[in-house]
């Protein structure tokens, strides 16, 4: 192992091609993973913040907020289901908003809520909103009055909250009545009657299984489609498709890592054949040589990942607020582990070649 380490230290140029290639791939992996996480988190923040076990949609909505309506009768029916502890409405309208002093419209999601979500205070007064920090990137400040939608409905920002966006649009958290006013003024094609909400959030009684409770609610009301929280997050338009697409690209990139490392070490092993023959002749085992190869693969992957990570961190800091790039610590860790494993798998492909090198070739060979 020391031999492998000294070779890396004293002949870094030999490994530069592999390091540069893997650095590009590591940066690409982290960038793609950051986009995937940014898209998912930016789309689902409003749902992840909810302290609810079950999301109840109207059965004809195909699990879409914008198509769903829960009437007061349905709400009462849900409340009567055994295992339901508390309910509260959640409604969303996606619009553009004029920000004072700004020429560009800010993309906002006006969210009417009743149950207090995690990290978001209780609803403020009529016409007032807690705004997501993402809107700061559009020039929104505390105390600003935004003119929302084509009807220019005024909403005043009373403070900021974090990670509370919906479909990548900045959350404006308001009373349900304020939301209804915004909806009816700006979306006359889909008016909301007094007492109606789009989706009903259900907090289950202690010990209740969310999936079973969802089934029980639907069986009881016959007019609802109920999802667990995780199912609701994945049911948002495009979320599942984004994840599948990005994960496919990530998997392909990891396979490229395996191929690059395999080719690199195959060529290196070919070049090292006389050296390995001599080392075996003086008593090195194939296992000792191979541990060195694996160590070098891991160190190369680690260096490349560190440089690639630095590049993505710099890019993330310089990226405009609209770019949904979020590189999380857990994602960095898992990306590194997978990259290192891919590098080890790639190096393993040289195992047969290393083990077949004949120590006898060290004898009778002139320089």
């Amino acid at each position: 192992m020391r031999l492998a380490w000294l070779e890396l230290r004293r002949r870094p140029g030999k490994f530069s091609v592999a390091v540069v290639t893997l650095t590009v791939l590591a940066a690409l992996l982290l960038f793609l993973a950051g986009l995937l996480d940014g898209l998912f988190l930016g789309s689902t923040g409003a749902l992840r913040a909810q302290r609810a076990d079950v999301f109840v949609y109207s059965s004809t909505s195909r699990d879409s907020f914008l198509r769903s309506t829960i009437t007061p009768d349905t709400r009462a029916a849900v409340e009567a289901v055994q295992g339901v502890d508390a309910v509260g409405g959640l409604s969303v309208t996606l619009l553009g908003a004029v920000v004072p002093g700004e020429t560009e419209l800010a993309d906002v999601a006006v969210i009417g809520y009743e149950l207090q979500p995690s990290g978001i205070p209780r609803p403020s007064g009529p016409g007032q909103a807690w705004a997501d920090e993402r809107l700061k990137g559009f020039g929104v400040g505390q105390g600003d009055t935004l003119l929302v939608g084509p009807a220019k409905t005024p909403i005043t920002v009373v403070g900021f909250v974090a990670d509370s966006n919906f479909q990548l649009q900045g959350g404006l958290w308001v009373q349900t009545d304020t939301w209804r006013q915004v909806q009816n003024q700006n979306r006359p094609d889909a008016p909301s009657a007094a007492g109606d909400v789009q989706v009903l959030l259900v907090q289950a009684s202690p010990g209740q299984d969310a999936a079973l409770l969802a089934d029980r609610i639907d069986a009881s009301t016959r007019v609802t489609s109920s999802l667990t929280k995780a199912e609701a997050e994945n049911s948002l338009p495009g979320t599942k498709e984004q994840r599948t697409t990005f994960n496919s690209i990530l998997a392909t990139t990891y396979m490229v890592v395996v191929v690059i490392v395999a080719l690199f070490f195959a060529l290196l092993t070919l070049e090292r054949t006389p050296l390995y023959g001599m080392l075996k002749a003086i008593g090195a085992s194939s296992r000792q040589l191979f541990v060195g190869v694996i160590l070098q693969a891991i160190i190369i992957a680690t260096v490349a990942f560190a440089i690639g990570g630095g590049l993505v961190a710099a890019l993330s800091a310089a990226a405009p607020p609209k770019l949904p790039l979020q590189v999380q610590a857990s994602r960095i860790f898992t990306s590194y582990v997978i990259l290192a494993v891919c590098a080890v798998i790639g190096s393993l492909l040289s195992l047969r070649r290393v083990s077949r090198i004949d120590p006898a070739q060290a004898i009778g060979t002139a320089q």
Partner: protein, 242 residues
């Protein structure tokens, strides 16, 4: 007096015993006998020159003696251990602990210093400490390289590299050291110096050695000369000078 007789007289076990050793490459009509019924015994403090033309079987004999090749038939005992039917893992252990090699192409690890090339032998055996460093320094000092400890092979002359290789071969305190044409890349004067050094180091440690050489001027440094032709050992001559 034969070598075996000399060993018996000296009361020491031979460093190498080969009895009726044959090595055949290939099968059937393509079979080539590289070594045929070779029998030789080398005492624990004996230096033997192995001479013969190219393709005569010198390398095969040296490879079998050093545990690099398994014989097709016959018995091989190195340092008192029968390796005739040893597994590859057992042969690795024999090479690591019992045999030292000096290769024709020197073959130092290019990115290790002179001292590290010697310490590598102990690292492969799983030991590295003050004792190893002290032994490496002492060997390099004996070989006149005390000021070259931290030089890479590329910073050493051909003769210095050869001396480092000799030091590496002696690092594991082997029963038998095998030299594959150690002077072929050196001029006559340097070759003589290297042979004198080999004799001094090998004899001083009571170690046995086989030296393959094409240069008949170098054989006088050895206790005896063994000739090989077409895979058969031809003669066993005691040196008259040295």
């Amino acid at each position: 007096m034969t070598s075996t007789a000399m060993n018996a007289a000296a009361g020491t076990a031979p460093a190498l015993e080969m009895h009726e050793v044959t090595k055949v490459y290939g099968e059937g009509e393509n079979a080539i006998t590289a070594l045929a019924s070779a029998t030789i015994s080398i005492g624990s403090n004996e230096m033997v020159a192995l001479v013969g033309p190219s393709g005569s079987g010198k390398t095969t004999l040296l490879s079998i003696a050093g545990g690099l090749l398994a014989p097709t038939s016959g018995q091989v005992i190195v340092g008192g251990r029968d390796i005739s039917h040893a597994s590859p893992t057992e042969l690795t252990e024999v090479r690591r602990n019992t045999v030292g090699f000096v290769f024709q192409s020197v073959n130092l690890v290019p990115f290790l210093t002179a001292r590290e090339n010697l310490l590598l032998v102990d690292e492969l055996r799983g030991s590295r400490g003050k004792q190893s460093k002290a032994r490496a320094d002492r060997l390099l000092d004996e070989l006149g390289l005390s000021k070259r400890l931290h030089n890479l092979p590329s910073q050493l002359s051909g003769g210095e590299r050869q001396r480092v290789a000799i030091g590496r071969a002696l690092m594991n305190e082997p029963a038998l050291v095998l030299f594959d044409e150690p002077t072929s890349a050196l001029d006559t004067q340097l070759g003589e110096q290297v042979m004198e050094l080999i004799q001094s180091e090998v004899k001083g440690r009571g170690t046995a050695a086989i030296i393959i050489t094409h240069d008949s001027r170098m054989t006088h440094w050895c206790d005896r000369t063994v000739r090989i032709l077409d895979g058969r050992l031809q003669s066993d001559e005691l040196a008259t000078a040295g």
